[in-house]
């Protein structure tokens, strides 16, 4: 529904289709018939937010309850934001066109640290007080979940409730509690206190933080009976877990414009830089029957002709070939193509290749992450160069000529030789192309090498690591650029400035809230976008708040330091992370979950890969 004030602005902005709703399968309810209005906010543009699977799952789940109306809200792009402010139009929800100011819940999904300013900015645009303590009534409850909720401290002053772990159950439990409290005329404080008793709920205002003289955290002290440790929630039976059979189908093109089927959660690999690999343990698979049914239904209901099998490492699905066979039984006739993102170098076999290119050919992307074998051992990316070349050879013989390779620079123990090894690896892939007898005739090969700068993240074995300086990162980028001698390799790199800011927030503590507040006052937004990001401006903010950002990004921590996220439990023990960290510095890899259990702690959830029968034992 388009509000008439909004209508006046639409022809003055780029891509107005982002601001109108009305898409196929969008859920419109009668507001008189519902008890709970939930604004599901994605702190980025429509095109980015609409590509996010978590939002699709929770949107459908919430709306499957007749007493909840969940609507979508995205950050308006700069031109629209400007006009909305000028015309006094508060941030509104797409389905109803109503301002979200007085909604019961304002929920944010935290996918990346650089979206934090957008969270605050969206509250501001909605005329909602940004500080939790300034929202006194039992409405406008601001909640947040997603991967960045694993270190929620930099935005702890603004959010009433963080959901720790997977949201399918805990979100509804909190909504139901709110409904009950509302009926009983309870206060916001009472509601928050009761909510804190639900497993997976973190109410930051119920914890006092004290600091040591050196500014590190001394302790987190719970108040009002809140738990000392907050345990994550997770879904153990993926076949039984709610999954939407319908997506809102956008009318304007979005980033990932296709059906998405989640095939498992977690990752067996344990790459030491990868936060997701630790947060979502243990690996829990959906059965191939469930995937097949859900995929088919999704394609039928949305009209998408492409479905992506999503997970952290799709070729690690235990019955991947069997699954693709099953899907191919209908997908070919119905002209649906299957795509497999997150393919591992060692997972791309002839068999898989033939099955995913039956209808359409997608690009090939691999992530060796580091150039030298030594460094790959450090980060536990158990991929051998031979495997990569072998895989590329399979691809080249199968007609591919474009390969993208992703790497990180600034990893622990990295030397300039390791950086140069990235160029060498790219060169070896190019050489491999010309060794392939069945390569596409008359075509040249194009290898794209992309590097991002390593950002140490909480709950990984590198959570203690002091990030490289921006200068060091620039030098490494330059060195890599100079080490590439062929035009067949294209080199792209991510801006090191953004990685620095990301590192500050990723391991920040509550003291950063001040800076966040100031940044919001100054109108910061879209930090993840080159259009808006300015490290200089941020450094000014830190200075004004008397905060040294290097303390968070650059400082090497000791194992015995109390970390700002130590009171959250994601299943992996700190002892395991320490063991992994020590092994990393000895260049020693750890075998993956299916080869050998490394006793990370996730077995306490009593399911998933931890209780799978291992092939070498049977």
């Amino acid at each position: 529904m388009i509000n008439k004030d909004v209508k006046k602005l639409l022809l003055k902005v780029q891509k107005p289709g982002r601001y109108v709703g009305g898409e196929l399968n969008a859920v419109v309810k009668n507001k008189e018939d519902v008890d709970i209005r939930f604004a599901f906010c994605f702190p980025d543009t429509y095109e980015v937010g609409m590509s996010h699977l978590g939002m699709k799952i929770l949107y459908s789940l919430f709306n499957s309850k007749d007493y909840i109306w969940c609507e979508r809200v995205f950050a308006p792009w700069l031109d629209m934001e400007q006009l909305m402010i000028e015309n006094n139009i508060p941030l509104y929800a797409l389905e109803s066109g109503d301002p979200i100011t007085n909604f019961d819940f304002i929920g944010f999904t935290l996918q990346y640290e650089l979206s934090f300013t957008n969270v605050l900015n969206m509250l501001k645009l909605a005329n909602i007080p940004i500080l939790s303590k300034d929202r006194k009534n039992l409405n406008q409850i601001v909640v947040a979940g997603g991967p960045c909720a694993c270190n929620p401290e930099p935005i702890a002053d603004f959010i009433d409730i963080f959901f720790i772990g997977e949201g399918e159950e805990v979100d509804l439990e909190v909504i139901d509690l709110y409904r009950k409290c509302k009926n009983e005329n309870k206060t916001k404080a009472e509601f928050l206190r009761l909510a804190s008793q639900i497993e997976g709920v973190y109410v930051p205002s119920l914890y006092d933080v004290t600091y040591n003289d050196d500014l590190t955290v001394k302790a987190y002290t719970p108040k009002e009976n809140a738990p000392a440790v907050i345990h994550k929630r997770l879904m153990m039976d993926m076949d039984d877990c709610y999954y939407p059979d319908n997506f809102v189908v956008p009318m304007v093109e979005i980033v990932h414009d296709r059906a998405v089927e989640e095939i498992f959660r977690g990752c067996i690999r344990g790459c030491r830089f990868c936060q997701a690999g630790y947060l979502y343990r243990p690996v829990r698979e959906k059965s191939s029957e469930t995937i097949d049914l859900q995929c088919h239904k999704l394609c039928t209901n949305t009209g998408y002709d492409e479905v992506s099998l999503s997970s952290l490492s799709s070729s690690d699905y235990s019955q991947i070939v069997h699954l693709l066979d099953k899907l191919n039984k209908w997908s070919k006739d119905e002209k649906v193509s299957i795509s497999l993102p997150s393919l591992r170098v060692d997972g791309f076999t002839d068999d898989i290749m033939n099955k995913i290119k039956t209808v359409r050919k997608s690009g090939l992307t691999f992530a060796p992450e580091a150039g030298s074998q030594r460094l790959r051992d450090v980060i536990n990316k158990n991929v051998m160069e031979d495997e990569l070349l072998e895989t590329c050879s399979v691809a080249f013989n199968g007609g591919w000529t474009n390969v993208k390779l992703y790497f990180m620079i600034g990893l622990p123990t990295e030397t300039m030789d390791d950086v140069a090894a990235i160029a060498q690896l790219g060169q070896n892939v190019v050489n491999e192309y010309y060794k392939c007898p069945n390569r596409p005739k008359g075509k040249s090969v194009n290898v794209t090498v992309s590097t991002s700068s390593f950002v140490p993240k909480p709950f990984t074995p590198f959570q203690w690591f002091g990030q490289n300086t921006i200068e060091e990162l620039h030098n490494k980028q330059k060195h890599l650029k100079e080490s590439i001698t062929t035009k067949k390799i294209t080199y792209n790199y991510h801006d090191a400035d953004t990685s620095y800011l990301e590192a500050v927030f990723a391991r920040g503590d509550r003291k950063l809230c001040k800076a966040m507040e100031k940044a919001c006052e100054k109108g910061f937004h879209f930090d993840g976008w080159g259009d808006c990001f300015s490290l200089e401006k941020w450094l000014e903010v830190f200075k004004e708040c008397n905060i040294d950002p290097d303390f968070y990004a650059r400082r090497q921590r000791d194992f015995d330091e109390v970390l700002p996220w130590d009171h959250l439990d994601y299943g992996v023990t700190k002892e395991h992370l320490i063991r992994e960290c020590q092994k990393a510095y000895k260049n020693t890899p750890t075998p993956h979950c299916r080869l050998k259990c490394s006793n990370c702690g996730a077995a306490k959830y009593k399911g998933g890969v931890c209780f799978e029968k291992r092939k070498n034992l049977v």
Binding site: L11, P16, E23, D305
Partner: protein, 219 residues
Amino acid sequence: MKNARIWFKKQDECIYISHLDLNRCMLRALHKSSLPIWHTEGFNPHPFATFALPLSLGFAGENESMDIRLLDDDYPFEKIITDLNACLPKGIRAFKVTEPVMKPGDIAYADFKMLLSCDSVSNDMLLNICNELFNMDEILIDKKGKKGVKQVDLKPSLVKYTLERQIGGVELNITLPAGSTNNVNPNLILNALKKYYDLIVDADTTRLNIYNENFEEFK
């Protein structure tokens, strides 16, 4: 194989999607509907569909058309309407299916209805200004084309029109040249109002119908 021309309206939220997005949206609806239609046979097979005359972003359309090829000659036209509407966003509604008579290349004119409104002047004033503009001897405005900006005279195109004071603004009904050879976008009138009178005028624009060079309705 049989050609079919599907007539639809583009309104409400859907006026804000571009022609490219409309195309994508239609292809997806065709795919979802499982109508027996011919697919292209190239590298990326997709349902074959062409549009008679693209509609600018921001315009509603009363009589828009899309041509497809039916594999099943006996497939009832009525069913195409219901099948497709079940798969389309509610702002796009198919209402008629015919066998194509004219070619899209025959299109020469289009009828538009525009409700003009302006915050800075009264509606009576706006009506006077519009009348004055339309009676000028020459209305020169910049038109952006593929080969850059060139100046055109709007005057010769402003032949068949009515201007009326309405609640909420001034209603302009106008027939303008349309099609692949000479196309005049009604927004150029807004540009002229800006240029000659420095007025920022908003318009609710609907394309009502399209015609061939003999002013016969496009069929």
